[in-house]
């Protein structure tokens, strides 16, 4: 028995059919794993098994501090989504509850190399010429 129910697994697998580029998921945990790190890791292991395009690398936040630093990871559990480059997508904490939708959609978007924004919104965002740091703080529901 995995974490995902059969019905949910089918939904995710179905959505992942749209993925036509490789996606790498980096997950940062530590040797003595906290429960929330373990939950995140198990969930990502299951998700990454649902598409050949997705690979998962589990890293140690302490032992591989340099790698964590390189990706700007300063707390765990951390989930990093990478495509041809780093798009800056990070999840801190278990991406469960409603955020599970967001995690799956983000993996799909990275896999398609397309964030699915309309032309008008893309044009607005094109005016930005400096790095922007966004933190969306959510609660488990």
């Amino acid at each position: 028995m995995g974490i995902l129910k059969d019905k949910d697994r089918n939904k995710v697998q179905n959505l992942f059919k749209q993925i036509d580029n490789d996606v790498t998921i980096l997950m940062f945990t530590q040797e003595t794993e906290c429960q929330r790190c373990e939950m995140t890791r198990k969930m990502l292991e299951e998700i990454s098994g649902l598409s050949d395009r997705i690979s998962l690398e589990v890293h140690d936040f302490v032992a591989e501090g340099d790698l964590a630093k390189k990706h700007g990871v300063d707390k765990i559990p951390a989930t990093v989504l990478l495509g041809d480059k780093d798009y800056g997508i990070r999840f801190y904490g278990v991406p469960a509850g409603y955020e599970f939708n967001v995690l799956i959609q983000d993996i799909r978007d990275v896999g398609k190399r397309n964030p699915g924004l309309s032309e008008a919104v893309t044009a607005e965002l094109a005016k930005i010429d400096e790095p922007i740091h966004l933190q969306v703080i959510i609660s488990p529901t």
Partner: protein
């Protein structure tokens, strides 16, 4: 492996197609609450070519915790009820535009055009406006600046942030009393303030609040200012009898003083009553041919989930008859 309180929501993963701006639909449904969703089910079963434009699904149902008057269920979790509505709608594969706000609806000849805030324009022969209502504001200094910084409009969403804190609830009706009970559950110290003399809430609700024995209830008082720089620190309350003002320290303010109809997109197109509600006849027809309205945004009294759902069904069937009579279906 069992983890505590571990749930995975997959409600957004049912892929819906985007509506096509090149197509003239039979019906566009604006909104995503019970009226809109019920209309969608009825229209889909009539094989109408339809699409839905909404910011999200569930409407105000998502702002409450338990529903105790949906026929067939003595009590049902509001999120479960909204999810089951959504799943029903999505089973028809109706195209949905999510995450865009509707800015304007116009009628050009026999065709309606709907503008969204990213400049997309959709076309349709009929419209069901079911955009619902939004929370009415106090319109006092400090309110706009402090939203989400101690000032809240949804107890189900935000009550947990006020565990053990001092909170003022503005209002005197059912929603204000329900909010008080949600806050008492998280051990907040609650003061209820009502503009008019007495309380409008139903008897049983009033009784439950009185039984807590911890809520201070002040009526015939007006909140004239919300104080705080980065977060709410207090309110200024005017006693309407003595005209005296006093400061009350508080960590939070929940505003539950009623709702306003989301009529912005049609306010220059259809007739509204003095409260801004869209005037409809008993077939859900507005003052504009082919434009129907259903749910809380309309003049139909008693804003209830079951009534909104019924009205939505009626609006869809009316739109269907309209197209059949015009030989457009």
């Amino acid at each position: 492996m069992d983890f505590p309180s571990f749930s995975l929501d997959t409600s957004l993963l049912e892929e819906a197609n985007e509506p096509d701006p090149e197509i003239t639909y039979d019906l566009l449904i604006l909104g995503g609450g019970p009226a809109a969703m019920s209309a969608a089910v009825y229209a889909a079963r009539k094989m109408m070519n339809l699409a839905i434009i909404t910011k999200d699904f569930g409407g105000q149902v998502r702002e409450t915790s338990e529903v105790e008057n949906w026929l067939g269920f003595q009590s049902i979790n509001a999120k479960d009820l909204a999810d089951s509505f959504e799943e029903h709608v999505k089973s028809f594969g109706i195209p949905v535009s999510l995450g865009r706000a509707i800015t304007e609806v116009k009628k050009q000849g026999d065709t309606f055009r709907v503008w969204t805030d990213d400049a997309t324009v959709y076309s349709s022969r009929t419209i069901i406006l079911s955009t619902g209502k939004r929370h009415r504001l106090l319109n006092v200094p400090g309110e706009q600046e402090l939203v989400g910084r101690g000032l809240a409009y949804c107890a189900t969403c935000d009550a947990p942030f006020f565990k053990g804190k001092k909170v003022v609830v503005a209002g005197g009706g059912n929603s204000a009393f329900t909010t008080v009970l949600d806050l008492v559950k998280v051990e907040a110290e609650v003061t209820l303030i009502n503009f008019i003399k007495g309380w409008q809430a139903d008897g049983p609700l009033q009784k439950r609040v009185e039984q807590t024995g911890t809520v201070s209830m002040l009526d015939y008082r007006q909140i004239v200012k919300i104080e705080g720089k980065d977060k709410v620190t207090g309110v200024v309350v005017k006693n309407r009898e003595s005209e005296k003002e006093e400061k009350l320290k508080t960590d939070g303010v929940f505003v539950e003083i009623g709702l306003l109809p989301n009529n912005q997109s049609v306010k220059d197109l259809v007739e509204l009553n003095d409260q801004g509600e869209v005037i409809v006849d008993c077939t859900c027809q507005t003052s504009v041919q082919g434009l129907y309205a259903a749910g809380d945004v309309t003049t139909v009294p008693h804003k209830q989930i079951v009534i909104a759902a019924g009205e939505g069904a009626k609006a869809a069937l009316s739109a269907y008859s309209y197209l059949v009579n015009k030989s457009l279906l």
